[in-house]
């Protein structure tokens, strides 16, 4: 052990050049003569070399680190443009601000009911909802019962009321689709008060058109219709009128054609300026000469005198597309207008006979 230590000491002294010439000579001879010693010397030299370069590396690292400390980072870091620096600095703030703003906008819109109103809120289909009337009817019935006990109950009132008009003499009646769309059964009542059962034979939801057929045994043919459909478009300003059943009695309403398009630019309908109410739906719109130019279907709330009527050419189009098979009897549209030269009151008298109150259950 001692000898190995001495050998290493000698090796180090040799490597550090601390030996005199004689010692050096002796040591070198020893290395030459003893391969084992040579190996150990080499190994030791490499190890020391490693350690030295490790030391040098560490030293260099420390120096670099020290130099780095003296550097003014601010000067070295490339200056970004002002905008970029501001953005970096206020990125989070602006994101938060933007989110808050968005939240505020949408909350306000929501709170003020922007989303609860749908687009058609200003648009109502003109069928008469009897449920609201039912309350009154009930109250009246109760009153009547009190006065006149023993009288029969008035019967269940209909859900909806609307208007329809004869398409042909053999019992086809035209009305609007929205009136009969969830109907269990449909009854028609004519001007004399007779009630007939009818069935729906054709509907066209896009044009809001429905065709009914009277299937009651008691129904007799009504004779030739006095009115015809106008084939081409009607003109703005034309004097028009309608007859409908906004209540239990036929009501005449007159006005003029005010626009060539319907609610929010709907090209299927005209805008007519006629006072109409729920129940008028399905009523014909006639011009001076007794041509049907349209069918009342809706009006715009919050706007005065804006009612809409489906244009007659769309009605004709829809009628033409009724499949033959679904018709039991022939549907022949009247070609001869017998109203043309009559006064308004005479016209109404005639037309009235072909207009029905529709009750939907």
């Amino acid at each position: 052990m001692k000898s190995e230590r001495d050998f290493l000491d000698q090796s180090e002294a040799y490597l550090r050049g601390e030996m005199n010439a004689l010692e050096k000579k002796v040591f070198e001879d020893h290395l030459v003569n003893d391969p084992e010693a040579r190996r150990k010397f080499d190994e030791h030299e490499i190890f020391i070399g490693n350690m030295k370069s490790y030391g040098a590396r560490t030293d260099l690292r420390h120096k670099l680190e020290a130099i780095h400390e003296t550097i003014n980072i601010e000067e070295v870091v490339p200056k970004k443009p002002l905008i970029v620096r501001l953005w970096d600095k206020y990125k989070i703030n602006s994101l938060v601000a933007a989110s808050v703003a968005l939240l505020a906008v949408f909350t306000t819109l929501w709170l003020t009911g922007f989303y609860s109103k749908d687009n058609t809120s200003q648009y109502i289909a003109l069928r008469r909802d009897m449920n609201s009337i039912r309350q009154n009817v009930k109250a009246q019935n109760a009153l009547i019962k009190d006065i006149n006990k023993g009288k029969n109950d008035a019967g269940t009132p209909s859900h909806y009321g609307a208007t329809g008009f004869a398409l042909s003499s053999n019992g086809y009646v035209m009305t609007t689709y929205h009136v009969i769309k969830d109907a269990d059964s449909v009854y028609l009542q004519n001007y004399t008060g007779n009630s007939y059962k009818a069935k729906v034979i054709y509907t066209d939801p896009t044009y809001d058109i429905a065709v009914l057929e009277i299937i009651d045994k008691d129904f007799k043919e009504v004779g030739n219709l006095p009115y015809t459909f106008k084939q081409n478009a009607a003109d703005i300003g034309e004097d028009v009128y309608t007859i409908g059943f906004p209540r239990e009695e036929a009501v005449y309403g007159r006005g003029y054609l005010s626009s060539n398009t319907g609610y929010s630019g709907d090209t299927i309908a005209y805008q007519v300026s006629i006072p109409v109410n729920p129940g008028n739906s399905g009523g014909p719109v006639l011009d001076n000469r007794g041509n049907i130019i349209g069918v009342i279907n809706s009006k715009q709330t919050e706007t005065d005198g804006a009612a809409f009527a489906i244009k007659s050419n769309y009605v004709l189009e829809a009628l033409a597309s009724i499949p033959e098979d679904s018709l039991e009897k022939k549907l022949t549209l009247n070609k001869k207008n017998t109203l043309a030269n009559l006064s308004r009151t005479e016209q109404i008298k005639k037309v009235q006979e072909y207009i029905y109150m529709i009750k939907v259950y």
């Binding site: 370069s53 030391g55 590396r57 260099l60 120096k63 130099i67 550097i71 490339p78």
Partner: protein
């Protein structure tokens, strides 16, 4: 050495010699002349100032290692060499992070030999040495470092550590060395 002065090859050689010797002044001027450029490179390509520091110091150490190897010949401006080395190092680092990008160069660059692997191997050896020395503990660590790295004589060490005679100190140093070898090779 001001940045404004025109660089000549002899300047670069002077610097290389200084780096090899570990001349603090030359290292300092080298650092200050080149670090801003590298910082720009790294920061403009998705790194921060600390990345720049690591990469730049790494490049100087690579330069130093090459100089120690002895057969290093600088065949471009030193600035260009450092830029190219840093560029390679940074690309490697980005690739390791899974970011594949290209670096837009505004500086001249050269192809540097890709001996980063040998550099890595040296690094590994050095960290082994560092670990071994750390595990060795005091006073052995200081004795070994003083003697082998800082080239103090046994006489100095004897005085520094208060050994009664050189022989005791030598004995202590020998034991420490044996333990260090065990730690390093074992």
């Amino acid at each position: 050495m001001s940045k404004e002065r025109k660089h000549t090859p002899s300047d670069d050689n002077e610097i290389l010699a200084g780096v090899l010797e570990g001349d603090t002044n030359i290292l300092d001027s080298l650092y200050k002349a080149n670090f801003p450029m590298i910082a720009r490179l790294i920061i403009n390509n998705g790194g921060d100032i600390d990345d720049a520091k690591d990469i730049f110091q790494e490049s100087i150490i690579i330069l130093y290692d090459k100089l120690c190897g002895g057969d290093f010949a600088l065949n471009s401006k030193l600035k260009t060499f450092l830029y190219s080395v840093c560029r390679n190092l940074w690309l490697k680092k980005l690739t390791k992070k899974g970011i594949y990008t290209r670096i837009d160069d505004f500086e001249e660059k050269i192809l540097v030999e890709d001996d980063i692997d040998t550099h890595k191997e040296r690094d590994r050896q050095f960290s082994m040495m560092e670990d071994a020395l750390k595990k060795l503990g005091e006073p052995c660590k200081t004795i070994i470092e003083d003697f082998y790295i800082r080239n103090l004589t046994m006489q100095d060490i004897c005085e520094k550590f208060g050994y009664t005679n050189t022989d005791n100190a030598k004995n202590q140093k020998y034991k420490c060395l044996q333990r260090l070898k065990k730690l390093y090779f074992g």
